[in-house]
């Protein structure tokens, strides 16, 4: 009954269509005035306050929920200091590379940009919440963590390169206008993240994903269309096996659906990476103004590799945390139920995170690009 529509063939097809629609929306958004204007300092553009108006109490900075413990706090603080130094070094090398064919400044720019990317991604942002939540709550492999993190970082780099190439290099937008368009992309990215969370929920409701491979080839009872009751897996000798990453590749288990995984990684990376990093935009604009734009593109990609390393570390860390938490759990209906509760919670968190951030941006409660 669904055969005439591609959505019926695969639940992920829904998301692909939605992502296509969102991409078109992004294109439209980029060519229309931004909903939420920001200034060069990442703050909402507002009319100047009335100097003659009586003084009103300045808002106190909001007390934060938690403080990072030592020595992590000192390390992170040091990473910000190093970012400043790397930033200055990159500018210096970019200046040296102007109008010269020397390879040394170029190599230095690549190395410095890579290091900058590693440190820059230590702070909030760069999809760590979505990628980390996914690998904490969903059953996945190490290679999935590396793939998703790498793809997200690549998309983020490409997003900045396309944005600056089209709007600054071709259409001659100012940096101010460009930052506003980046802010629009940020909103689109959060909507895409929410859609991705919904896709995970849909797959879970169809009995897919929570065990790391789908049951679409197990028989009619467990097809993607017909919801099935999830039974404990059994090895070929009939004994239940424990969920281990190694075990998931053993020949007696159903083959993981590579198509699902590839599409899933593609969607997640695209949703997370759609929002360009303001740091990359600044580097590209600097290079564009100094007529060394190709160097800026290489620097941005090197930065993306650095970001990928940090985000991969987070995703692998979350996989490790999940492994620790589930270590020693017996393969019972209760263990499966607990795993499914965690999977559902993760998917709900990703959905709500995307929806909440998009709503906060659209209502002006949070300033884009500063988030």
């Amino acid at each position: 009954m669904y055969s005439s529509f591609p959505v019926s063939r695969h639940p992920l097809a829904v998301a692909q269509w939605l992502l296509l629609c969102l991409s078109l929306f992004a294109l439209l958004a980029l060519t229309s005035p931004p909903v939420h204007a920001v200034d060069y300092f990442g703050r909402s553009d507002k009319p100047a306050p009335d100097a003659s108006a009586p003084a009103k109490v300045v808002e106190q900075p909001q007390a934060q929920l938690a403080v990072i413990p030592e020595p992590i706090r000192s390390w992170l603080q040091a990473s910000i200091r190093y970012q400043l130094e790397l930033n200055a070094s990159i500018r210096h090398e970019l200046e040296l590379s102007k109008g010269k064919g020397h390879w040394a400044p170029g190599m230095a720019i690549i190395l410095l940009s890579f290091l900058y990317g590693v440190l820059h991604a230590l702070g909030p942002g760069h999809g760590k919440v979505v990628v980390g939540s996914y690998f904490l709550t969903q059953r996945a492999r190490i290679s999935h963590g590396l793939l998703m993190s790498g793809w997200a970082a690549l998309v983020q780099s490409l997003s900045a390169i396309v944005l600056v190439s089209v709007f600054a290099a071709v259409l001659h937008f100012s940096a101010h206008q460009l930052l506003n368009q980046a802010a629009t992309l940020e909103t689109v990215s959060y909507v895409a993240i929410a859609v991705y969370g919904m896709v995970i929920l849909r797959r879970l409701s169809k009995g897919l994903d929570s065990c790391g491979h789908d049951h679409s080839k197990d028989g009619a009872q467990s097809s993607p269309i017909a919801p099935h009751r999830h039974q404990p897996h059994k090895a070929s000798d009939g004994t239940p096996h424990r969920f281990r990453y190694k075990a998931m590749t053993s020949p007696e288990l159903p083959e993981p659906n590579k198509g699902h995984t590839g599409r899933s990684m593609f969607m997640a990376g695209t949703a997370v990476g759609l929002r360009p990093c303001a740091g990359a935009i600044v580097v590209l604009l600097f290079c564009l103004a100094n007529e060394i734009y190709p160097v800026g593109i290489i620097a941005t990609l090197a930065m993306g590799v650095g970001v990928a390393i940090t985000v991969s570390t987070v995703s692998l860390g979350m996989l490790g945390v999940r492994k620790l938490i589930t270590r020693g759990s017996s393969d019972t209906q209760r263990a499966i139920r607990a795993g499914r509760i965690a999977s559902y919670t993760g998917a709900i968190v990703i959905t709500l995170f995307g929806l909440l951030q998009a709503a906060l941006l659209l209502t002006g409660l949070v300033t884009p690009i500063a988030a």
Binding site: G42, P49, P61, Q64, P124, R322, A370
Partner: protein
Amino acid sequence: MILSTSLFRRLAATFAVLGSMVCLPAANAHPHVWAQFKVSVAIDAKGAPTLQEEWTFDEGFTGMLMGDVRPKGDLKKQLNNKEVAQLKKDAFDNLANFNYFNHLRTTRGPLNANPATDFKARLQGNQLVYSFSLTIKDALDLRKEMLEVGLWDESYYVAMDPESENAIQVNAAALKCKTNTFLDKKSPIMYGMIFPAVTRIVCS
């Protein structure tokens, strides 16, 4: 009972890690702009302060701003009046809505600054430098109460760093003032990754 105690603990641990991760995005941005500041607080005989501030931006931000001000962001010649006016309009005036990142406090609470005056911008090598003066909108007599001065962007999009340990200095010929600079642990930025420096000024 649907779940055993052991499974419940495992789930609780998962949710605890998940919850702490989801809290993090509210911490806003890692820095994209760096500015070093120094402030001279001039206090008149009636105890009214005027803050004379100088901000020096990093080369990247300078390059981006200058790209909007002049073709190819040329940094070799100084800014003319028209360019300074453009910078003031496009890349400074909006900060009035955010107290120019100034956090001014007395025992009564936070204070507002008036719109900045004497705005100037110049190029110092590859770095853009802003200088301006701020007066305080609220009534304040430093002969009778203390003043705390700190500069930070709580979103941390801009990392405001003091130029030196004595970046905030007092110039009060008519009064005897003492300063004490400390890290304000009640105003953590980025979940306590950074504690801003605050200078307390006490005059008599």
